[in-house]
């Protein structure tokens, strides 16, 4: 597995029909870093994440993925990507174990019972729920399953789209801590969120979008108050 250590976004533009979602956005992401992607609804954050996940293709510009100074393409890139979104990306009719087994097979990673149990333990999914269909889970349990699915494949580029929505304070902070751990282990983490408190003091890279354009970017640690200030100043 060639872990990604650099992602370069060069002058990407994206339109959806008559709407301009992104215009001339350039950004560079590096390993061992957590980037907070901020902005109002409709600013283009989800689109940028879509582009990073290879599910959306740009009308202009390009995104390149690098590992050890060599460019990586296609399936090799997707193998390194983990996505955590508002929806669980898991099948409701299958159990937690079955879902993870399916994704282990799709990603060609270790899908033995022991490995699956270990991941489910790590995210803290109730042992009794692991053989129940996922549609019976609570929101918090679904988020745990979704995180397990993302962690199972050991991604080096982790993309999160509003992962804290619907979680209580404790859950959000725990997830924030988990993301910090992953970042420290070397991953590139990109978080799109409105929950500034959950990521404050953890991010080392902040990018703010407004109306499809990058209006602010900085590398450095920010606490909650600073993030709030930046957001109010630039996102409007």
């Amino acid at each position: 597995m060639t872990a990604l250590d650099r992602v370069k976004i060069t002058k990407v533009a994206k339109r959806y029909g008559n709407e301009r979602a992104l215009a001339n956005v350039s950004l560079e992401l590096g390993a061992r870093s957590m980037c907070a992607l901020l902005g109002h609804n409709g600013a283009g954050k989800t689109t940028l994440l879509g582009l990073l996940s290879t599910l959306v293709s740009p009308n202009d510009g390009r995104i390149t993925y690098h590992s050890n100074n060599a460019e990586v393409h296609g399936e090799a890139v997707r193998r390194e990507i983990g996505l955590l979104a508002h929806s669980s990306l898991c099948y409701g009719e299958l159990t937690a174990r079955e879902n993870l087994s399916l994704f282990a097979g799709l990603y060609s990673v270790d899908g033995t019972a022991a490995t699956i149990e270990a991941v489910l333990d790590r995210v803290g999914l109730d042992a009794r729920a692991r053989d129940r269909a996922a549609r019976t889970y609570s929101r918090g349990m679904l988020q745990r399953l979704s995180l397990a699915r993302a962690l199972l494949t050991k991604p080096s580029l982790l993309l999160l789209d509003e992962p804290f929505t619907g979680l209580d304070r404790g859950g959000a902070l725990a997830l924030g801590a988990e993301l910090g751990t992953l970042r420290d282990a070397g991953a590139i983490v990109v978080v799109v969120t409105h929950d500034l408190e959950a990521i404050a003091d953890r991010t080392d890279h902040v990018a703010i979008l407004r109306r499809g354009q990058l209006v602010f970017e900085d590398r450095g640690a920010y606490d909650y108050e600073q993030l709030k200030g930046l957001y109010h100043r630039h996102a409007n």
Partner: protein, 226 residues
């Protein structure tokens, strides 16, 4: 080959979910059967007309049921955004396409298994006189239908009026398939049976499937990536 193996994994996932809930297959099969009953009422049932009307009724029932099945199968991928998960996986995206269309073709054949005897019974149509070619034509028809349907259903997942747009898109494109299928069936029901017609249109069906499968394989990825 990795593409086929992953496609099989995806197809099996769909069929396993279906076996568990049986939601799609029950509703599809019932709908197909219901159509057969409706046709028996609304069309005249003089015995000379049966060999002329039965092929159309059979294929239209399967087509309508198939449209519903397509909608439901892809709605399922919409529920938890699992389509995104499949497309994100490090597998050839063609595997997603092949897996989904294989699963839907199987479901359509399940409907055919229900509707064919029903029509044979209700209309007195001798559909089982030569079951081999009939089965082959239904298999080829199901493959063609699910291939074209899957390409567009996958692209329609995020569209609001997807339920009505799907038939608008695929029915005109599939008319040659319907004509070929009904011609094969008509040839089988004709008295005396017309093997020349049957195999001419069977060949047409096969070539149609091959051509549209090739185009679908080429076009699928650009349809699902925004």
């Amino acid at each position: 080959m990795s593409v086929l193996r992953q496609a099989a994994r995806i197809a099996w996932k769909d069929l396993r979910i279906e076996l568990r809930s049986r939601e799609i297959v029950y509703t599809m099969a019932f709908f197909g059967g219901l159509l057969a009953v409706v046709y028996s009422f609304v069309f005249p049932s003089k015995s000379e007309l049966v060999p002329l009307a039965a092929p159309g009724m059979l294929w239209v029932s399967i087509a309508f049921a198939g449209t519903i099945g397509l909608g439901r199968a892809f709605d399922r991928e919409r529920e938890n955004d699992t389509m995104r998960a499949l497309l994100l996986a490090p597998i050839p995206r063609l595997a997603v396409f092949l897996g989904k269309s294989a699963a839907i073709a199987v479901l359509m054949l399940a409907v055919a298994v229900v509707v064919t005897p029903m029509l044979a019974l209700l209309l007195g149509a001798d559909l089982f006189a030569d079951p081999g070619p009939l089965a082959l034509s239904l298999v080829l028809g199901a493959i063609g239908f699910s291939v074209v349907g899957s390409v567009f259903s996958a692209a329609l997942i995020k569209v609001r009026s997807r339920d009505v747009l799907l038939p608008v898109i695929i029915y005109p494109l599939l008319i040659p398939l319907f004509v070929a299928g009904t011609s094969v069936t008509a040839g089988l029901l004709a008295v005396p049976a017309n093997p020349e017609k049957v195999w001419y249109w069977m060949g047409f069906l096969g070539i149609f499937d091959a051509a549209f499968l090739v185009v679908s394989l080429w076009i699928f990825e650009s349809m699902v990536i925004e």
